[in-house]
Symmetry: C2
Subunit: 317 residues, 2 copies
Amino acid sequence: MKTEVVAGIDIGGTNTRIGLVDKNGVILFSENTSTHAYDTPEKFVKDAARILREGVEKTGTSLIGIGVGAPSANYYSGSIEFAPNMPWKGIVPLAELISKEMQINCKLTNDAKAAALGELLFGDAKFLRDFVVITLGTGLGSGFVVNGEVMYGHDGFAGELGHVIIEHNGRLCGCGRKGCLETYVSATGIVNTAKEWLEFEGEKSELKNVSIDQVTGRLITEAARRGDLFALRLMDFTAEKLAFALANMVAVTSPSHIFLYGGLAKAGDLLLNPAKKYFDEYILRNYKGKVELKLSGLPDNVAVLGAAALGWEEAKR
Amino acid sequence: MKTEVVAGIDIGGTNTRIGLVDKNGVILFSENTSTHAYDTPEKFVKDAARILREGVEKTGTSLIGIGVGAPSANYYSGSIEFAPNMPWKGIVPLAELISKEMQINCKLTNDAKAAALGELLFGDAKFLRDFVVITLGTGLGSGFVVNGEVMYGHDGFAGELGHVIIEHNGRLCGCGRKGCLETYVSATGIVNTAKEWLEFEGEKSELKNVSIDQVTGRLITEAARRGDLFALRLMDFTAEKLAFALANMVAVTSPSHIFLYGGLAKAGDLLLNPAKKYFDEYILRNYKGKVELKLSGLPDNVAVLGAAALGWEEAKR
């Protein structure tokens, strides 16, 4: 008998990872593709299906379910709805499109909720009941576990922490409002800060060696790692905004742990240390010293594993 | 056989209500006392015990449990911890003090969580799974129900929405930090706004007929009800701050309903209508039109009922 696998698809604003995962959480096949390469969801689904079929053939497995994590995705409706950082606009019934194409049940959730599920099943959060995963990618996502269960909210849209407003009349956000957390704290956010500062300040930085349009989160992280003071100030500024929002969030759900995950979290201690310092300053006395802010210990594919876990849940019903 | 009852004690920053509640949620006895009349928790417990014993004698009932709701109270530890608006400072092991005095099991929770439990068991929230109760009293409390259960957080302190910071370097809060929601949105908050404005503005208002130290939330509400433009502006200002914080909170837990409860909520539509208007302006598109912001339909004693429900839970174990 062929080994049964479930597909875990982690759709980011920039990249998509597609994996085949067995019931022990082992990834048997994995491939990346660029989310922006597909101008319609239909084209994306066609190509994802091709990759999945190739993977199934290569591994000689039997595909019995599909789980997808994506920004602004709704667990209840199976749709991506008004995702500010995605190439596909409006309401996209992605679970239905994939189910039809593959003739297999597909379950969709928010990418950060998938990451939280991955942490709960395979990561440091295995025995935790109240924690949060913050994904720092193109945008900022969050997945909450409350009383040991993923919090979906009444409509499936709990955990849009990236769209908490932290600055009155702040930066314009993809959602149409101003001052949202993710306009400051995300790969895009830190790049925007860099651009603002590089334009107006006479400061020295190795980032000035590239054209302003070529500055990326990765370049900033690398410069900071080499001790570039400008890049370190960018990290400090970003960490302060993150810590402020997290301290406010703790006053709502009171988690024991906050895990940082995603591209910008790769800055590691360069981001984490100042974030911890400000977090401790901002947090209400009742919570002081109780909430652990740390980097996710899981590799990049935690969201693929989480998405697959969702697929397994559905396949076993 | 005597009718079994449970005591529900709702401790507010200003007043305390003590009730005896049967298992159908009928209040058989109720008495109020001033929280500030007792400079130590021990004196409070002695007097509350006296009131309870008198109530039990009067009603000829049998007291089998006690539930208490109080600001900054912790469900897990049974203590009130660093309550900014209470006469008793530090960590007060209130459940233990009451249990010892009455020789009956006592369970403690946050006053707003007690109100949420009251709404869930006896109010409009009977069939809801994700909702929030906001208590607008001396301070601002909040009780969250997530997936049909009260959210306590890992340490019992979930739902301190009054201490979400909404203004950088804003008003000094009892918690020692600056800009907390409750410094603007609470009976104390709206009075502080009135005082600030009355000092610096040449505006006409019937509130000028009393000395500035005598302005209360109730006087402001009454003036607004009579069409006093200054009082109406105070309501609008307060409603805007509330709506801003609620819109941000929705992006975390995504509740279907938000119930306003407590002294300041008695302003009714004078507060609710502007709050709804701003809430709709501030909220992320995904939630628009989905979240009902309304006044609690329950009478003042919902927190007593909720506290009693907690006592019943404990008594029946």
